[in-house]
Each structure stands twice: as structure tokens, then as C-alpha cells.
């Protein structure tokens, strides 16, 4: 029975890690190429989730709502880039923190003004609401499996885009040495807007896939933003490979921590104390992971410049 639980938690970790990767992929590129600390990245995730939830209610079809929501969020992202963020690339990190903090305030409050205080809930699409028996005794939610499939497919597509295409070459050149890429004639302005649009689309995809599992509410962006930044730093700023491996690592460590630390503690500590400390230790695990990684590799696991 325990190995089934273990496998199930592995799948949960993989699913969470892949969704985290969608957020982190955009964040690390924006961070690495444009040298921009974008605190408002989580807001795009929130906007994406809200838009998909709204489109689902309007069209009645989750499948139709997802591409609509992604496209709309990408447009929102590109508009924000062109209007606000473009003026921030040459500024220091502190100004960027202040400006993107301001964007969070505006995004959260606008969301509240448009959709109200009530959180939105979305049902799992009917076709995927059942569970699949992967192994004898291991039943796993079909929707979570679909999330894993989408995550893997997008990761593969991003890999091909970044490693095999001309655009990807420009992106990698920008991430490892921005000034040299500009000197070689890369149209950085266009590239930045495009990367930001892709980053926003990935945020919306993550928001869309997770929205039936979570509650769509204001503030959902900030709670995952910290996790995303931790992942960026663990993976190495600007590195896609680092983002992928870092996201899986954080996803699995976080899931395992939540699933296994409390029962493990209960075997060695008095139950009252273990019940109190377990969830906190689980929440701390990813930060400990980051401190350990930074201690061992101060530039993250896969520094982009090297």
C-alpha cells in the first residue's frame, strides 16, 4: 500500500513541478534576457485563471476557453510590456521592484473591481473527471494526468523552440550576453515583447490547468510567485534547463514534504508536537533546498552565462 502512495505522490510532484515550470520558464527568460525583476508575473497567472474561468462560463466549454484565455492573457502581457516595463529595462532592480509591486496592486484591485470579491470555482471538465487505473491498485485522476501530459508537451515544444529555432538562438544569445546580442544586430525590442507575450501565455496556461483544482481568487498570484522565484534561483537565472529541473525538484520536494514529513515526524516525536511542526517543516523544505543549493552552487544549478 505504501508504494502506491509513493507513486501517487511522485505523480503529484511531477504535476505540480510541470505547472511551476510553465510559470518559471517565462520568469527566468524575462529575468535572464531583460534583467527585469518582474514581481507582477504572478498577476498574469491570476489574470489567466480568471479569464479562462470566465470564458468557460460564457462558452460552456473548457477546451474552447483555454486557448481564448491564453491568447487574451498574452495580449495583456504584451500591452503591459509595451506601456510600462519597456521603460524599466535600463533601471536598477529597486525601481523595477517598486514599479512591478505597483502593477500587482493595480492588477489585484482591477480584478476585484471586475470580478468582485467572490472567488470563482471551476469544475473539472466532464470528460476528464474520472480516474484511470495506471497500475493494479493505483487510481489516478484523469485530469491530473492531462495536466502532466500538457506540461510535458509544452516543455518539449519550448525545448525545440529555444534549442532548435532561430528565435530560440536569439533568446539564448540574449540570455547569455545581452549587449553582445544587440551589437550583433538582434532586434531586442521586438524580441522582448515576443518573449513577454510567450511568458504571459505560459502563465495563463498554468492558471487554466490549475483553476479546476484550486480556487480562482485575488492573491493567488503572489503565493505562487515566491515559489517561482525560488525555482528560478535554484535553476540558475536565465537557464531553461535549470528552470525545468529546478521546477521538478521544487515540485517533488514540496509534495513529498507535505505528504511524508508529518507522518515521519509522528513516529519519532510526541503527536501533539509533530502535528504542529510537520506542516511548517514541509513548507520550509523548499526554502531549505534553496539555501543548500545556493551554498553549494551560488549561481544556481545551471548558470546561463557559463
Amino acid at each position: 500500500m505504501t508504494w502506491i502512495l509513493f507513486l501517487e505522490q511522485c505523480l503529484n510532484g511531477l504535476q505540480f513541478g510541470l505547472m511551476l515550470f510553465l510559470l518559471v520558464a517565462g520568469l527566468t527568460l524575462i529575468f535572464g534576457i531583460m534583467d527585469l525583476i518582474n514581481l507582477a508575473h504572478g498577476s498574469l497567472y491570476m489574470v489567466g485563471a480568471y479569464l479562462v474561468a470566465t470564458f468557460t462560463q460564457a462558452t460552456g466549454s473548457f477546451l474552447l476557453a483555454v486557448p481564448l484565455g491564453i491568447a487574451a492573457t498574452a495580449v495583456v502581457g504584451m500591452v503591459i510590456e509595451a506601456v510600462v516595463l519597456r521603460g524599466l529595462y535600463k533601471r536598477d532592480h529597486l525601481s523595477q521592484v517598486l514599479a512591478t509591486f505597483a502593477l500587482i496592486l493595480i492588477a489585484n484591485e482591477s480584478t476585484r473591481a471586475i470580478w468582485g470579491l467572490q472567488a470563482l470555482t471551476l469544475n473539472v471538465p466532464l470528460a476528464l473527471s474520472g480516474s484511470v487505473e495506471l497500475l493494479p491498485g493505483l487510481h489516478y485522476s484523469a485530469f491530473r494526468l492531462a495536466i502532466i501530459a500538457v506540461g510535458l508537451a509544452v516543455a518539449a515544444m519550448l525545448y525545440i523552440l529555444v534549442v532548435r529555432t532561430r528565435i530560440g538562438m536569439l533568446v539564448r544569445a540574449g540570455a547569455s550576453n545581452r549587449q553582445m546580442a544587440m551589437a550583433m544586430g538582434t532586434n531586442i525590442k521586438w524580441l522582448f515583447t515576443a518573449v513577454f507575450g510567450v511568458g504571459a501565455a505560459l502563465c495563463a496556461l498554468a492558471g487554466a490547468m490549475l483553476s479546476p483544482l484550486l480556487v480562482v481568487q485575488v492573491g493567488m498570484g503572489e503565493s505562487i510567485l515566491i515559489l517561482a522565484f525560488v525555482t528560478v534561483v535554484i535553476g540558475g537565472i536565465g537557464s531553461m534547463r535549470g528552470a525545468f529541473i529546478g521546477a521538478l525538484l521544487v515540485g517533488i520536494v514540496d509534495t513529498f514534504g507535505r505528504a511524508f514529513i508529518p507522518p515521519l515526524l509522528r513516529t519519532v516525536l510526541p503527536p501533539a508536537f509533530a502535528d504542529a511542526a510537520g506542516p511548517s517543516l514541509a513548507a520550509i523544505s523548499i526554502y531549505l533546498l534553496m539555501v543548500i543549493v545556493l551554498f553549494w552552487k551560488p549561481q544556481g544549478l545551471f548558470p546561463a552565462g557559463s
Binding site: 529575468f31 525583476i37 514581481l39 510600462v84 521603460g87 524599466l88 533601471r91 532592480h93 529597486l94 525601481s95 521592484v97 517598486l98 514599479a99 509591486f101 505597483a102 502593477l103 500587482i104 496592486l105 493595480i106 489585484n108 484591485e109 482591477s110 476585484r112 473591481a113 503572489e222 515566491i226 522565484f229 525560488v230 534561483v233 537565472i237 504542529a276 511542526a277 506542516p279 511548517s280 517543516l281 513548507a283 520550509i284 526554502y287 531549505l288 534553496m290 539555501v291 545556493l294 551554498f295 551560488p298 549561481q299
Partner: protein, 313 residues
């Protein structure tokens, strides 16, 4: 007389701060005295962060850890060792305990730089946040209420006006201390490190020691601010260590003016007053606040202190 014209704003601000409780009572708005105390405490927190970020160039995203830790020192002593809960005992204790915490955290974090420093300070603050959430004996998630404010001699601390003057005095002492620190050798070395750390190192300064000292001073001062906030609110909770509090303090510093002695306080005052005024206008005041902050980034890059500096020149 020249001194007076040059420092006209400062003198006016000090007089206003001294007279504030009388003014508030005169117009029948006693409620605002405790709001003002809260503004001053936020100002103390932002001022301590400004020493770190503005003077020392160390952008910390985990300053709330020290603020909340100082608050919890007051809360835990009031619960477990009430005989020590007098302000002359508990405030220095909060400062010392937070200073030690800052020493440990700083010694580890200061090995990294730039963005990595931002993230690792954030990580430590989040870890402390979850530790205090798990301390069920001290309220856990729900926080810990205080029975009364830390007594100080024969003063009636429960009276908001008395407490306001206590906070104001402590803030003034901290500002005087920081003003002296800025002009001392220590302050000059710290600014030198901010400009170019390698240069200071090759000049023979043990830069890590200077940075760590600044980190401890800033942490201890944030601990004092937290201890005062615990007294002001009569309540401590893990939210006082949460990262959005660090973010708000950082925004106040940038808003007020990096590296300026008054920057932290000015930022806190403007931020809190804006919040107070805008909530009166519309429930969606955060949109306006966001737009104002964006305006500051694009049109007043040196913060409020920068605006005043330009005028006086």
C-alpha cells in the same frame, strides 16, 4: 537664521510631530493619534531598512523577519515571564535577541550578492514565518494577544497619547544615532562599499565585517520597531514576518528616498497617508496607489527626498 531657512521643512515637521496629539484632540479626532503611532513605527522599520538598502547597498527582501521576531519577543515574554515585561527590560531584550538573529542570518546571507542576496534573505524570512505558524503554544496561525502594553515607570502606557510620545522619542533617538553613524568612519566605509566593494577591499577594509555590522544594526532596529508595533496593536501574529511586509517596507524606502536619513520616515508617512486618504475616496484605492507609485518610478526616481534636494539647490 541660515540654518533655520535651510532646515525649514525639518523644523516644521518636528513641530508638527510634537504637536500632533494636541491638534488631533483639538479637532476631536483622537482616533488618529494611534494611527500616527503606527505611521511612526512603520517609519522606524523603513528607516532601519534604508540603512541596509540605501546606505549599504544590500537589498533585503526579508526584513520583516526581524520586525516580527522583535514583536514575538514582547509577546512571548508577556506570556511566559511577565515579571520581565516592563518596557526598560523587554525592549532592550527584543533589540538584543533580534540583533543576535540578524548576526546569524547575515553571516550566511552576506556570502551571496545581488539577486541571490534578495532571494536568500527572503528564504530565511519565510522559514521563520512558518516556524512561528507552527508554534501552537504561542497562538500559531491565529497570533498571540497581549494583555496590556509593556509598563514604563509611572507612565500610563495604555493612553494613546503617552504611547505616541514614547514611540516618537525612540524614533528620534534612532534617527540621531543613524545621523551620527552616517558621518562616522563606519558610515563612510559602508557607503564606499555600496559604490565599489572591490575597491574598498583592496584598500584593506574587511568589507564583510562592515556589512554584517550594518545588517545587525538594521535588524536590531527593526526588532525594536516590531516590539513597539506589538505594544501598539496589543497583538502579534506570524503575518508580521510575512514577505509582503518586507515588500511594503522596501516600497516605503524607495518612495521616500534611498540612502537619505529621512527617506524611510518620509516614505512611510506618504505611503500611510495616501492609503488613509485614498480609502476615503474609493474602495478601489489600490489602483490609484499603484498609479502613483508608477509615477514615482518614472518621474521621481530619487523618491521624495530627491524632490526636496532638487528644490533646495
Amino acid at each position: 537664521m541660515i540654518w533655520l531657512t535651510r532646515h525649514g521643512w525639518l523644523v516644521a515637521a518636528c513641530l508638527f510631530a510634537l504637536a500632533f496629539p494636541m491638534l488631533a484632540t483639538a479637532v476631536g479626532q483622537d482616533f488618529y493619534i494611534s494611527v500616527a503611532s503606527r505611521v511612526l513605527i512603520w517609519g522606524l522599520l523603513a528607516t532601519s531598512l534604508n540603512l541596509l538598502v540605501g546606505t549599504g547597498g544590500m537589498v533585503s527582501m526579508g526584513h520583516a523577519a526581524f520586525f516580527g521576531f522583535g514583536a514575538y519577543v514582547v509577546g512571548i515574554i508577556a506570556l511566559d515571564a511577565p515579571q520581565w515585561s516592563a518596557a526598560p527590560v523587554v525592549l532592550p531584550l527584543a533589540i538584543a535577541a533580534t540583533g543576535i538573529l540578524a548576526f546569524v542570518v547575515g553571516a550566511i546571507c552576506l556570502r551571496t550578492r545581488g539577486v541571490y542576496f534578495i532571494m536568500i534573505t527572503l528564504a530565511f524570512a519565510q522559514m521563520l514565518f512558518y516556524i512561528f505558524v507552527s508554534l501552537k503554544g504561542y497562538g500559531g496561525d491565529d497570533g498571540l494577544p497581549l494583555a496590556k502594553r509593556s509598563p514604563l515607570g509611572t507612565l500610563k502606557m495604555a493612553d494613546d497619547t503617552v504611547f505616541y510620545y514614547v514611540v516618537l522619542t525612540l524614533l528620534a533617538l534612532c534617527l540621531v544615532f543613524l545621523a551620527r553613524l552616517r558621518d562616522s568612519r563606519f558610515g563612510r566605509v559602508l557607503r564606499g562599499i555600496k559604490d565599489n566593494e572591490i575597491r574598498m577591499e583592496s584598500l584593506g577594509y574587511a568589507t564583510l565585517r562592515f556589512k554584517l555590522t550594518a545588517f545587525v544594526i538594521a535588524g536590531a532596529m527593526a526588532g525594536l520597531a516590531g516590539a513597539l508595533m506589538a505594544n501598539q496593536n496589543g497583538f502579534v501574529s506570524p503575518n508580521m514576518l510575512y514577505w509582503d511586509l518586507s515588500g511594503t517596507a522596501l516600497v516605503m524606502v524607495i518612495l521616500g528616498g534611498l540612502g537619505s536619513l529621512w527617506g524611510g520616515l518620509a516614505g512611510a508617512v506618504v505611503f500611510m497617508v495616501l492609503e488613509e486618504v485614498l480609502t476615503g475616496f474609493t474602495s478601489h484605492w489600490q489602483i490609484i496607489l499603484g498609479l502613483i507609485l508608477l509615477g514615482v518610478v518614472f518621474f521621481a526616481p530619487k523618491g521624495i527626498a530627491g524632490l526636496f534636494a532638487r528644490k533646495s539647490r
